[in-house]
């Protein structure tokens, strides 16, 4: 992979980290609010279904995860497993697609 591509991956990981910092804080605050308020699963779904704001929030959240986690694993694979090169990058691209696909499905699940 070229120096430019590797640099852009680094920039993408930093940018997704910034998005995740906000999303994780908002998600945790929501979880704490829901648990302390004693909301049931049905009551939570009643509030999220049909609300495009929740859909947008969680789609952004899971897409940031799908960008961030595989890039981080890329370094872990190289440094801890000695796994470098094209096979690693293809495997991690597949992992990114899996994260994004299952994440978006879950986000749609609380909306639709």
């Amino acid at each position: 992979m070229s120096a430019r591509a590797e640099t852009l991956l680094w920039a993408a990981q930093r940018a997704s980290a910034a998005v995740l910092a906000l999303c994780v804080a908002a998600h945790l605050a929501t979880v704490i609010y829901a648990v302390r308020g004693g909301l049931s699963a049905a009551e939570i779904l009643g509030r999220t279904r049909g609300e495009p704001g929740w859909l947008v929030f969680y789609v952004v959240f899971v897409l940031a995860v799908a960008v961030h986690a595989p890039i981080g694993l890329r370094a872990v694979c190289a440094e801890w497993l000695g796994w470098r090169g094209r096979s690693r990058d293809i495997a991690l691209l597949a992992f990114a697609v899996l994260l994004g696909w299952t994440g978006v499905r879950a986000a749609i699940g609380v909306f639709a």
């Binding site: 992979m1 120096a3 852009l8 190289a78 440094e79």
Partner: protein
């Protein structure tokens, strides 16, 4: 203060072992004094490197009680807990013998990082005027006193995990040149230091900054290279 130091010194190659010596203790004694005593008074076959003895040349770095240090400026009193010293070669470099490592890969990486000044003026041109207080000059100033001792390279975990990683010293050098107003190799140097074997491999553990005997922070320079190369990549210049 006890009269004698119990000193373990690495002997042999990579499959060698620590050998034990008793060395008289003196006031203001440095670790290099201890190694020199062993070689001159006890065992003349001990191999080690030194030159200036005053913290300028960067040739006497060793691992002292598990920590990479310049031995000529490291006082025994500061590091010999309980009167015991363990002295080994620098980590992360191939061992030649005893306390002498092969520094070629360390300096080859400086070359790979384009750690050589590349100007465009000739002797017929006027001097370049660089304002001492200008932001770029101050950034260069922060890293310019590197003596190439290899302590940061030895302290770096990323070097141990990724043998291609250029390492803190080479990247610090590249950063000082990136901030040299007279240097013209800007984008090419960023291309040389960007990516998985360059600045973007750094995990910001800061062991290099913690251990640098000249109190340089290679971590800060590496962060600067990350930002500069990311900006160049986004502009399509990398």
């Amino acid at each position: 203060m006890s009269e004698t130091l119990r000193v373990s010194v690495w002997r042999g190659g990579a499959d060698g072992a620590f050998r034990h010596y008793e060395v008289p203790r003196h006031a203001s004694q440095t670790v290099l004094d201890v190694v020199t005593h062993i070689q001159r008074r006890i065992d003349p076959t001990l191999a080690y490197r030194f030159a200036c003895r005053v913290g300028m040349c960067g040739s006497c770095a060793m691992t002292v009680n598990g920590t990479p240090r310049w031995t000529c400026r490291t006082h025994v009193d500061a590091v010999a807990a309980g009167g015991a010293l363990q002295i080994g070669p620098l980590r992360n470099l191939p061992l030649i013998r005893d306390l002498v490592t092969d520094m070629r890969e360390f300096f080859d990486k400086w070359a790979r990082a384009r750690g050589r000044f590349e100007g465009e003026r000739t002797r017929r041109d006027d001097f370049a005027r660089v304002e001492p207080g200008s932001p770029r000059r101050e950034l260069a100033e922060a890293g310019i006193e590197c003596i190439g001792c290899g302590v940061c390279y030895s302290a770096c975990d990323v070097v141990a995990w990724n043998r291609d990683y250029l390492g803190p010293a080479a990247l610090n050098r590249a950063w000082t040149l990136a901030n040299d107003a007279r240097d013209v190799a800007g984008a090419e140097r960023l291309r040389a230091v960007a990516g998985d074997a360059g600045c973007h491999a750094c995990h910001t553990h800061m062991s290099c900054s913690e251990r640098c005997p000249k109190r340089i922070s290679p971590t800060a320079g590496i962060s600067g290279l990350k930002r500069a190369s990311a900006a160049a990549a986004l502009r399509g210049e990398l």
